[in-house]
Symmetry: C2
Subunit: 518 residues, 2 copies
């Protein structure tokens, strides 16, 4: 089996989804999970894009033990300086720099020409090489770049010292045979190609990202850039779990493999879904709740006779627990740690203690505790909530069919309690919004509201996710509760606290408009 490098960009390209920005604590948790998953490279962020991104990349560089840590930059010296500074403490740092190479990008984005862009590309690689040995170059919109010119760019940047050349299909335009032919062309026409690794970076606009990435590999590329759950702008990036399991399940045909620990795919998928609020659809390949029919409990005649009749992978291989074991108030700490381990979480020390306390509190209220509840507890602990400026003290709600709801709400702020009574609006969520706005004085518009139960039973925990707009910016809020009204209040407060925290920090150096690379 030939080894394929997995370059995870969940924290850089994946995070570019409106309203899904992560805070530093959340990024560190995801980076740790990615390192445990066994990715070769973690693209941690785009350091110059904001002070927050800089600090996060630096913290991930400090923390990461195994993977290469990579920071993005444009072909601009100050970007590269900033990335180098953020990566200073990394055991294995990589600077990822580059520029748009398609005629559309050269003309409309840079108002430039092919020769000038080629020079900037070479200069950027040389400049980055002053700082680190490992420099990756991206040719943005390589998917729509003329092959002959692309070959010239590749040859020049490899000569300048690029160790990896990334060929992004930025707009998700390419088709598998076409993308494969492009990689093949480069292998046949770039002198010095053996001195660098070619990388695929595909987007899923036409539903072909997984196939394009693998077509690249079949034609000589040796690195796949991808994200957990395929998250990212528009239709997202290549899904890590799909390319990894396609190569592993069909090793007989491809003869490629990665060093990913596939049993950690589902836990990592759940963590990313929880911190970003981006739900995975039920029939998502590999990590969707329905991806393995057995979960649904249908007794298929074929399956009963012989498992391979309808099954090409085992759910346990990607980290689904094989049974939904029930726990309760008499279950001890060791049993909890053991079950959590089966579900993909290694709990020790203080973290185990905190989750165990939450577990006991839950067990007092809920007779049967399912795997979904345990996952919710662990994720809640792992979420890294931001500092809570406002917290819930208490509420009472009166609701009558077709009448105006009434709420009495008390919140705390730096230890001081403030209460209001509001009789207005339509339902419990509406009146909760109105009451919270009134107490906190923060104004915002609700963009979306979603509740999803996380386990079985009508007393199940529910995860509430809301997205609100404040001064043109999207913020999200999240809470887990067995009471959907309490969940709504806490999720709204989470969003309010994020708004307050963002306003304290001040705006980013660069607006969102230039983060769109590559």
């Amino acid at each position: 089996m030939e080894k394929i490098h997995i370059f995870d960009t969940t924290l850089r390209d994946g995070e570019q989804v409106p309203g899904c920005k992560l805070n530093q604590k959340q990024k560190l948790k995801v980076a740790k999970a990615l390192d445990d998953l066994g990715v070769d490279v973690i693209e941690a962020g785009f350091p110059i894009s904001s002070p927050g991104d800089f600090v996060s990349v630096k913290a991930i560089a400090d923390q990461t033990k195994n993977a290469i840590v990579c920071g993005l930059s444009r072909s601009v010296e100050k970007d590269i300086d900033c990335a180098a500074e953020a990566l200073k403490t990394a055991v294995r740092p990589r600077i990822h720099t580059g520029i748009g190479t398609s005629d559309t990008h050269i003309k409309y984005k840079f108002n430039s020409n092919r020769e000038a862009i080629l020079e900037r590309a070479v200069a950027a690689v040389k400049y980055a090489k002053r700082y680190v040995e490992d420099v990756e170059f991206y040719a943005e919109d390589a998917g729509r770049t003329d092959n002959a010119y692309l070959a010239r760019v590749c040859e020049a940047v490899i000569k300048a010292g690029a160790t990896v050349v990334n060929l992004p299909d930025t707009t998700g335009y390419c088709l598998p045979t076409e993308y494969g032919e492009k990689i093949k062309y480069l292998y046949e026409n770039v002198s010095g190609i053996q001195n660098a690794i070619l990388a695929t970076h595909c987007h899923n606009d036409l539903g072909l990202a997984t196939a394009n990435s693998i077509a690249g590999i079949q034609n000589g590329a040796r690195q796949i850039e991808c994200t957990i759950n395929g998250i990212g702008e528009r239709a997202g990036n290549t899904a890590l779990e799909e390319v990894v399991m396609a190569m592993r399940t069909r090793g007989d045909y491809y003869h490629f493999d990665t060093k990913i620990n596939s049993k950690r795919l589902v836990p990592t998928s759940r963590l990313v879904s929880a911190v970003t609020g981006l739900e995975v659809q039920r029939n998502k390949a590999i990590v969707g709740r329905n991806a393995f029919a057995h979960e649904a409990g249908i007794h298929q005649d074929g399956i009963l006779k012989e498992r391979t009749t309808y099954e090409i992978m085992h759910p346990e291989d990607v980290g689904f627990a094989s049974t939904d074991l029930v726990m309760g108030k008499h279950s001890g700490r060791a049993a909890l740690a053991d079950r959590a381990k089966t579900l993909g979480f290694n709990l020790t020390g203080e973290q185990l203690q905190r989750v165990f306390e939450d577990f006991k509190t839950l067990a007092d209220r809920k007779k049967e505790i399912f795997d979904g509840d345990i996952v919710a507890l662990v994720e809640n602990e792992r979420l890294g909530q931001i500092d809570q400026e406002w917290t819930l003290t208490g509420f009472a709600l009166q609701l009558e069919h077709l009448k105006t709801p009434k709420i009495a709400l008390t919140l705390s702020h730096s230890g001081v309690e403030e209460s209001v009574e509001v009789e207005d609006g339509i339902g419990p969520v509406d009146v909760a919004f109105l009451a919270i706005k009134k107490i906190t004085g923060v104004d915002f518009t609700c963009k979306s509201y979603r509740v999803q139960s996380s386990s079985l039973g009508h007393d199940a925990n529910g995860e509430t996710n809301i997205r609100v707009v404040h001064k043109g910016e999207l913020y999200r809020g999240r809470a887990v509760s067995m009471d959907c009204v309490e969940g709504a209040i806490k999720a709204i407060l989470d969003a309010v606290n994020r708004i307050i925290a963002a306003e304290k920090k001040g705006p980013d150096i660069l607006g969102e408009q230039v983060v769109n690379q590559p």
Copy 2:
């Protein structure tokens, strides 16, 4: 451009998702939407699998004006008799029959041998030909079937009169190059291949269904079997919207096209999502809410300079409305009809009247009405709710933080009101479940609960979906309300009414275990 036939199996293979069974009214609405979308073939169901399926296929055959209507059968005479009977009134009927051809299926599913299976295949096609001219044969698990044997099967069934030969990758095992080579092998080795159309039928277990289908087309297949939103068992089927838009967007490369009206893709996607309760994830290619970045309101520098910098399709081309126009209580019927049309719904006559009445009621309670609200209203009207045995008369809820909730609930049954008071459980949803169980006497376990707002604002309509288990069977319930507690009550009642309706009807002739074809 060469024409590719689109064979939609949303109502047969797509519907095979636990808890997502549709009732007849819903199936008729989906079939109508598919005919309007311009699919070439509607696979309406598997007539022998249940009396409900038989009646639905018959009703779709009666109703459909343009598309071929197809019914599934095994290679069993009574299946074929039943399919022929259900399709009797179709303008263009097709019987779809077949059998497993991989060694795994032959050995474990049929305990048979290759020669005997070949004979059964030929006999089934000949038998179906007695009823209809258009007979499609499926070679189940063709993806894992030995090519030489598969060629023999194809040759024999074409000789027996099959007009279409379907080559399902039943387990989602194949890779694009491999599946393409399989089709190519058949074209080169089956004598008489020009007398039939070869069809692709792919599953998405490795995330490759779209690519496999297109690889099949590139190698000579001329029909793609697919479902709206890619729904189906496990990781689902090929997504119709992806193959259609990949071929259309890249006509320059493929030179293939379909007769799909792409502007109806989003409305049809929404309808299927509403009736099945299967939510489409935000970054789903083509039809996801984030599939086009513009929707999120990010001002990308590149996009502002030149749209093609980052965009390969226009959102309007697939049926996204270009602006979120606000309507209100002064908007008239014509304005509503006009807006609904932009959103993909042709409302006329009684249907327009009913939606307009709901619109006025909503406008009395909600100041600004967004596109999402209109879609919710139309979908609610189109949903084809089953007969409501139990309906909500009224409720009052008292809820206090960390205390036991209390509900007074009144339901009606055949005009008679019944009330209970319940003070128990944890949150409002829990106590609503307990109260409904108590009044109706129907017992069930909650499997999942989900609320999703359907437009902007904290007074937005929310769509509640629940799934419950009753005597080992999954049932779902759905409701739309601006009050999440009212929504929960109505969704639970919808599920209870479905349980009662199912028990009146009696069990299916065949259990779910044999519905798993091909």
